[in-house]
Amino acid sequence: MNIALINGSPKGGATNSGFLLEKLRPLLPQEAAISTYRIGPKALKNEQYLELLAMDMLVLAFPLYFDAIPSHLLRMLTEMERSTQSSNQRPQTVRVYAMINNGFFEGDQCKLAVELIRNWCERCGFMFGTAFGHGAGEMFGSVGHVPVGSGPLKNLGLALEHLVGSIRSGESTEPFFTQPNFPRGLWKLSSTQLFWNATAKKNSLKPKDLRRRPGMPPIRLPQSGGKRQDV
């Protein structure tokens, strides 16, 4: 059984998508041969698409951007669809799983990203296994020491179980959406104080600086004759 673990976060350094893949890895069947991929702003090579098409399973971990799939990963998915059309091996057996994390509290805000993956599977002739969406993803970095399945990671334990259950049984199941076991108000407060305002301070900015409203830059607008005019 060949499984590709694909990290679709474009960030440099530690990523929440990487955190999810790390927690999934020890739960995968022991006999599985696991390869890892990182999809960043740079495109994959042709032979890497062919490698992916030869996998039994793809696990895509990625952040939610504008209620959907980030553009660099979307580009990779469209390239992959193109490779399925040009390759003569029929990839019916590829099963696809997704682990999506988002910044807002509610994990079910990932539901359209799951639908996009499902529609992509249909276009590629892949089988959609299952997916989960987990909210408040930026918290993962600060709870690395907490065992999965307890405290704020209790629900993550359930989400991973859901995914692994479908990987092991081979059966497709409906997606699962969840968020950490702590109050939403606490996330709102801690993201403001510990995350945004603290980062601002590191950059020598005050909280009110984060609310700046830059004005319209000098750009050139097209005129009907095709010429551009300064504003």
Binding site: G12, P70, L74, R75, T78, N119, L210, M216, S224
Partner: protein, 168 residues
Amino acid sequence: MKMIVHDLENAGELPWLTAFGSGQDVIGIDNAVIRHCTGCFGCWTRTPGTCVLKDEYRHLGARLAACDEMVLISRCTYGGYSPFVCNVLNRMLPYVLPYFRMLKGQMHHQLRYEQTVKFNVYFYGEDLTANERQTAQELVQANSLNLGAKGFEVSFYDNIRQLKEVLS
């Protein structure tokens, strides 16, 4: 003013598009090369309101704030935008604030600007499935809620010829 983002190739050879975009802020796939968002949040915490990537798309937040309507013309891709239109949208993160607010029982962004836009999305594609249409419809609704839009419209066309008839 409208911001018009489209993924139509050889746009210069489409007189109807030139007329539609006259005097508007038009962003097309043939314009300058665009970099993908790298998820660094610099547009929120380093240079608030402006993207830190040094290309022609750094000021999309302020440019959108100068408009009252955002028009997206996109090939419908798995029930979402095409990679180019999605890329432009991703680079619009500085338009909103990092801070949260509650809307319809869910967390969303606080707005950076007082101005709001109307969202108008034209999807095209020959063989869209019912699921893709459904996803696309819901995606535009979700995006307009998140960006604090004052309204949204979504329509579907089989091809660019049909689109031209509507926009000419």
